[in-house]
Amino acid sequence: MKNSPAGTKIMKTISLLLKNDTEMSKIEKGKWVILPALRLLFVLFLIILISLSKNAAFVIVVFAGLVIRLAMLKPETIKMVVMRLVPASLLTAIIMLPAVFLGNPRSLIVVTGKVICSVLTLSELNASVAWKDLTHALQDLRLPQIFILTIDMTVHFLVILGRVSNAIVEAVELRTCGKKNPNWKKAPTGGILGTTYLISERMSRESSEAMVVRGFSGEYKTLKKHKFNWMDLLYLFAFVLVLLIYIYLERAM
């Protein structure tokens, strides 16, 4: 089968992408304890404002804030954020390219800028808040349990999928002996991909069983009840500030 080395390549790429996602859970340990729900709301709020704004200046203001935050993260985290940013912004730029030829080059920059800001906001949140804190945040926002559980399980599955596909790529590599044209008749790439999926599916099922066995009743309980502190207040202040900037700039247009 000629196409099979390409098959392993695809699998390898996928597993690398997911591996990065797995490592996302190696969260930046922030000294800043801010109520996760507040952060989540802030992100949503920012994204809405960004998409509403008709003004390049606002996007640039937000961008400045986001890059400075980005610059404070660890190199590894920055890499992950950038890895998400690049394809998203390239794609947008390509889609917006006709605008340039229609004589509206500014809109290419503005729209791409908006996409960059939105992706940056989300991935920075992702990189600085542990997933489990986000589940708590969703809970604080009174979302239905079943909804939270579903999201949580999906993410968990992806994490496991990443881990499993990595391990399997390694195992395959060792035993194909890296052969130029490995004989895939016995185990076509499709078969390996399928098996990877099945193993991950099974592992994620088993790990949710493990949660149940340890008395998990479907409701996330937590010890650390977040006490509202001055950092939260500062954060609220940022809310207001962003809103004011937005109003000022939109009015100025």
């Binding site: 390049a56 200046a57 640039i60 400045a64 890059v67 400075i68 610059a71 700039l249």
Partner: protein
């Protein structure tokens, strides 16, 4: 000292870029060999200081402006090769995002400010440091080094400008690119830099250098031959104190709008619309027909924002991007430790 596009002929620009390629190569190689992953990510802070320094425009009698570059400063703290990379990145961002310095002229700008300046500045500092063995000798040495560094760089820029009208003329005998010959460009550039801009560079360098000496936990490159533990350049294993090198950066960022006080444009940095009024009397052909790259935030200003805000924002974006870029670069530099 940022040469805009169309002031130099494409041939000159290409030549300068060709010279820079091996310089960059050697710098990257040296940095990889000498530095740990963490100190590579610190080059970003150096680049950020350079970026900010270049935003403080200072009025120079005669209607032009000048600014510090900080090439020697970074060379003294992190080594000339690291400085070369740091200034290169700062210049790249300025060219791409803020339209400061041309795209084609990028190689020439790098030659002046990322190569000549840090290397001349560094080796002169080192020479002086050998003579001044007392404790604060390093500060005096970087002061002297940085003065020579910036002037060497501006001399280079002046020569690049000045040779244009001799080499490139259109059919009518008018200069295609920079209209001023060496007899004008050298005095114009050098008077500015021997006086005010040179002084600015010295003050900026000494200020930041002595701050960093207190606030950062790194051993400075310049000092590596002068202290007992010469091996520890960029070695952070001795972490007695926290690194506060970013604090001054923050302060400077907020102060950048002071750079707006200087009216006028630096010599040789005029836009095509300004040049005729400078006394040339005409707009050279190469400028009207040359490339016209539209930067994202041209001239550090944005429609709908007050100049001060736009200036601070530009500083923030420039600084943050420089830091981000070097943090990313540090990743490719896998945990190698000097043998």
């Amino acid at each position: 000292m940022h040469i805009p596009d169309n002031y130099l002929s494409p041939q000159t620009a290409a030549l300068m870029t060709a010279i820079m390629v091996p310089v960059w190569g050697v710098s990257i190689h040296k940095v990889r060999k000498q530095m740990t992953q963490e100190s590579v990510s610190k080059i970003g802070i150096g680049g950020a200081y350079s970026f900010i320094g270049m935003m403080f425009n200072i009025p120079i009698p005669g209607g032009t402006t000048g600014h510090a570059v900080g090439g020697t400063l970074i060379a003294a703290t992190l080594g000339p090769h690291a400085a070369c990379l740091a200034v290169t990145v700062a210049l790249l961002l300025q060219a791409l995002i803020f339209g400061d310095g041309g795209i084609l002229a990028f190689g020439a700008n790098c030659f002046n400010m990322a190569f000549v300046m840090p290397f001349v500045g560094y080796y002169i500092s080192k020479l002086v440091r050998k003579l001044l063995k007392f404790k604060a000798g390093d500060i005096v040495s970087v002061a002297i080094g940085s003065y020579f560094g910036i002037n060497a760089a501006s001399l280079m820029a002046a020569i690049e400008f000045g040779v244009q009208p001799y080499l490139f003329k259109d059919a009518a005998g008018q200069a295609m690119y920079c209209p001023y010959g060496l007899n004008v460009s050298i005095p114009a550039m050098m008077i500015a830099h021997l006086t005010v801009a040179g002084l600015a560079e010295v003050i900026y360098t000494v200020l930041v250098y002595s701050f960093l000496k207190k606030a950062s936990n790194q051993k400075f490159y310049l000092e590596k031959d002068f202290s007992r533990s010469a091996k520890e350049i960029g070695d952070d294993s001795v972490k007695e104190k926290k690194d506060f090198s970013w604090i001054l950066l923050l302060v400077l960022m907020i102060l950048t709008p002071l750079g707006l006080l200087a009216e006028g444009t630096a010599w040789g940095e005029w836009g095509a619309d300004e040049i005729a009024a400078t006394g040339a009397g005409f707009t050279p052909k190469g400028m009207t027909e040359g490339i016209n790259f539209e930067a994202m935030i041209p001239d550090y200003s944005m429609a709908g924002l007050p100049d001060i805000a736009a200036y601070i924002l530009s500083a923030i974006i420039g600084v943050a991007l420089t830091v981000v870029i070097f943090k990313l670069i540090s990743l490719t530099h896998k945990k190698r430790v000097e043998e």
